[in-house]
Symmetry: C2
Subunit: 373 residues, 2 copies
Amino acid sequence: MAGLANRLINRPILASIRTEAFRHNLNRVRELAPESKIWSVIKAKAYGHGLEGAFSGLESSDGFALLDIEDAQWLRTHGWQGRILLLEGLFHEDEVPIAAELRCDLVVHCETQLRWLEAFTPHSGHPMNVFLKLNSGMNRLGFTPEQYRTAFHRLHATGYRMHHMTHFANADQVDGLPSVGAQMECFMTSTEGLEAPCSMGNSAAILWHRNAIGDWARPGIMLYGASPTGQHADIAHAQLEPVMQLCSEIIDIQDIKKGERVGYGGRYQAPENMRIGVVACGYADGYPRHAQDGTPVWVQVADGALGVVCPLVGQVSMDMLTIDLRAVPAATVGSRVELWGCHVPVDDVAQNSGTIGYELLCALAPRVPVRIE
Amino acid sequence: MAGLANRLINRPILASIRTEAFRHNLNRVRELAPESKIWSVIKAKAYGHGLEGAFSGLESSDGFALLDIEDAQWLRTHGWQGRILLLEGLFHEDEVPIAAELRCDLVVHCETQLRWLEAFTPHSGHPMNVFLKLNSGMNRLGFTPEQYRTAFHRLHATGYRMHHMTHFANADQVDGLPSVGAQMECFMTSTEGLEAPCSMGNSAAILWHRNAIGDWARPGIMLYGASPTGQHADIAHAQLEPVMQLCSEIIDIQDIKKGERVGYGGRYQAPENMRIGVVACGYADGYPRHAQDGTPVWVQVADGALGVVCPLVGQVSMDMLTIDLRAVPAATVGSRVELWGCHVPVDDVAQNSGTIGYELLCALAPRVPVRIE
């Protein structure tokens, strides 16, 4: 922890960001989508990993896709010359000139945004790139098929460089409705004859619907080494590597007797005399409070990668969680613990908590120090 | 949003921290625990509210209780002269002189910490305050009843100013095991004859177990206006006020037809033709991905407090959520929305998401701008 500098840190929790894993995962995307350019999606502070590590590991991307114009500015300040896509476009009209100055590509998903762009004349004379969003069935953002063609012509006529875009609701599911096929059909019909590059595929499409990627792929979760479905087994074949490793330490050990209970609500009851390890990580660090008894937690038993997976027991509290140490007699106060990363896939923690890895990664709390490796 | 300065913000999401509500809630604590001094618990960056607003609203506390020594330093830098309690004590021996210099009171919960303090001689000559933690049944941190008395004598003999401390597992539940009564009995027996001030009561004890508070109360969640049980109805009588208000805007509206589906997985299916509002708030802002259809979202329909509560429909995504606008024909792109705060108790959102308000407040994401009012 000594290298963390400047911050006065006592709690032993730490998130490490492995930039080498970013590079590896981006290469895997390129192998899976060799015909496409790659928007690396780094919204939500790079899914909780922080912009700095993501920029460092993903600098060979064709562009970065994000949400906050503040993050676009950060990239420009740090020397990024390539393309930047604002995934939800602009939220207020007065941002149009700022986005133009930052040379951002803009998603346009509604009539209000369209009018702002019609009313704008860029100072530079350079035409801006627009990704016009079609609502092909997800019913979140985008123009309906009926509105789409007119919207395209209006922006094209105003001088914007046009691109088509849509988003899939179920590229990670076999039988979800609407299906990728139905959305693709809607997309093809709506864009027919409107010549422009297109962007469709998210991580799930890149992995499982290679006909539905388009000229610009938009990988997100797979760059971080987690699964679009929330099931680690589903991406085992894709050979992705986890980027974030969340570690902490055992800060106390309780020897409890058969029948005694652990933590809030006394949720866990000891089936025999046993040792309970208290780990300095709780839901205010971003660990899910929903985690059930049995959620895997890795405890190091010797230098290096030698360790044992122990089950979480008892309700996760704000700053701590408790684990069953029966399988690790060698564990002591100070033993290193991995909450997720190389030994415990974040998706396995998510699955034990009724959610997906995305949510856990994004939820990493500001109080957890981050180290870029 | 203009007053936010310095940050280049486009997304319309904003968390407001009402310092007046902090003051009101602290007064309520004093009325409920008139005999006790008050440790205001501001760990986890003041339960997600940020130290600045909490310090401003709670400066009449007798002391602040927290976890990160960095936060203790922040308080001293900002002029706090009163007491500070490190709720989990120290994590490494080299922090002992730092904590002494910052004039922190220390929890001591295990043998390792006890040895560090025995080995330390304060430069100032001022004795440090120690809160010795008894594990009276929660089985998380603390000395067992068998170890406690010896630990007390050792620290007392070394010259520390001693206090007793324990923590309840079920002060918010009627029939949870171990009960408050059982823990109290254990506490009384273990501390008998060891003269020292004691600290026991958390928010739940202050609200429902007034005989179990002690000389130093430790209110946390109630200072933020949420319920220890996770049920808003349980604190209605206590007249607490919500401190955080999380607001955003509608950024798109979809007119969908009967039978169409909304969002990832197509979870929600329209029972009739209807309007869907897309709100700029998702799980990467800290809104719970677990939120079920029907979770209340307040939509403003005119200036001031005039609004309508609409049900959330469809899976919460990373940056957006979708609501049923049938009850609000006046809603447009740009309409203001409250996710939780004055119109929607955070506990009601939590209850619809299988968790408690604590988790939601702490999970407020770093990308959400905070305004102190």
